[in-house]
């Protein structure tokens, strides 16, 4: 049985050390700018921090994967080239890229560093994945969260690279790397500026009766009663009034988290090479708990034991979990 790699998120150097100490095989992170898809204030790494973090991980036999997974707008490609140049110089173990221009640049200038295809590229067919492998020598594809386990197994037989699947964390229904909802409200692009619902546009307004309204750029995304836990105003997870319902409802989707821990044995058997935990924006406590739980789970599966699934529901968004499309297409 192959031993799948556990790929864990780090929004800060301390989260990276926490993930490594909790058992991550690889940690992914990004620079403090638009070159990565979690471009939030207070998150991500300076050049100096990344250098020290690479040293910390490598000293313990772990890997650092650099996310350079947004799409450079025309005429502004220097920032993305710099990210590849610096990452290469600091000795990261792989670049996670989505844009074909960035992939091409990395292939030509940093050919000794592995390329992973980001989920943001939304490559879901063997033809698409083989294109990236052939043109840019992509070694691993991070699969969009739309395939069932059996589809993943079939796909693995038709592509020449490793497969990585998300197993825990945020779960959006949009076509990966193509969502423009934030643009409509804030003028900033999730895919080019790297930020969905930028913090500077977020407000929480008090409602009569003690509730809270979560707002983005002046638009109310959701209203919470006094006893409800107020969520972050992510547009696709808000409650909206529409002509077809009397009361506001989750018109796109309910805020739920992906949790594939029950499907891990199937995914290992399906030939998945790496499991990814989402959440570079989450706390160190979250990283520690989730990474440790999945470490235990993966080790148990590999050694042939029954995995003891830790209680992770408390860490999921809104306390609700889903196996998404992985188990069945009927999840929506």
């Amino acid at each position: 049985m192959n031993r799948p790699e556990l790929v864990c998120p780090a929004g800060t150097p301390s989260a990276l050390r926490t993930a490594v100490d909790a058992g991550a095989d690889a940690v992914y992170c990004g620079f403090q700018n638009a070159t990565n898809a979690r471009n939030f204030p207070g998150l991500n790494f300076t050049i100096d921090e990344l250098g020290k973090s690479v040293a910390y991980a490598h000293a313990r036999g772990r890997k650092v994967l650099l996310a350079v997974n947004t799409f450079p707008p025309a005429g502004k490609t220097a920032l993305w080239r710099d990210a590849i140049d610096v990452g290469h110089r600091l000795g990261v173990d792989a670049f996670i890229v989505a844009d074909i221009g960035v992939a091409d640049y990395a292939r030509r200038t940093a050919s000794d560093t592995r390329l992973h295809l980001s989920v943001q590229a939304a490559a879901s067919s063997p033809e698409a994945i083989r294109f990236y492998c052939r043109e840019f020598n992509v070694r691993r594809v991070v699969l969009p969260r739309i395939l069932t386990v059996s589809e993943i197994q079939a796909l693995g037989k038709e592509i020449p690279c490793e497969m990585e699947t998300f197993v825990f964390g945020n779960h959006g229904l949009m076509v990966e790397g193509r969502c423009s909802l934030t643009n409509y409200i804030t003028g900033l692009s999730t895919n080019m500026d790297g930020v969905c619902s930028p913090a500077a546009e977020v407000r929480y307004a008090a409602l009569p009766g003690g509730g809270l309204a979560s707002q983005l750029g002046g638009f109310t995304i959701d209203c919470f009663a006094a006893k409800e836990k107020a969520g972050y105003p992510t547009i696709c997870k808000g409650r909206y009034g529409t002509a077809c319902r009397d009361t506001p409802y989750y018109a796109f989707e309910e805020p739920v988290s992906l949790n594939l821990s029950p499907l891990l044995p199937d995914l290992v058997r399906s030939g998945v090479h790496a499991f990814k935990i989402e959440g570079r924006q989450r706390s160190r406590a979250y990283v520690r708990a989730v990474v440790a739980a999945f470490r235990q789970c993966v080790d148990a599966i590999v050694s042939g034991a029954d995995p003891q699934l830790a209680e992770l529901a408390a860490l999921t968004e809104g306390g609700k979990e889903t196996e998404g499309a992985f188990k069945s297409k009927s999840w929506r």
């Binding site: 939304a122 739309i146 395939l147 589809e151």
Partner: protein, 83 residues
């Protein structure tokens, strides 16, 4: 100075064929558009409703001087979508 050119993206709505035919007839006859993207990009299950009409729509748009580009699905997953 360059002249601005207008491009119409593929229709994302699931309109009945008559409505779609009428829409493209008006684009051909009335709209100052240079390039028209045709094709189903959202869901392969919708394709049978309109696939017999693409030829005539493309011909009509081309006769009206438009450049026609055929678009494929944004997200390809199933075997039947790959053919």
């Amino acid at each position: 100075m360059t002249t601005a050119r207008l491009t119409l993206g593929p229709v994302l709505c699931h309109w009945p064929p008559e409505k779609l035919l009428d829409f493209y007839a008006r684009i051909a006859d009335e709209a100052p558009i240079d390039t028209v993207y045709l094709g189903e990009v959202v869901c392969s299950k919708r394709v049978p409703f309109f696939e017999d009409h693409y030829g005539e729509v493309a011909d009509r748009l081309k006769r009206a001087g438009k450049k026609v580009v055929f678009s494929s699905l944004a997200e390809v997953m199933l075997k039947r979508e790959r053919i």
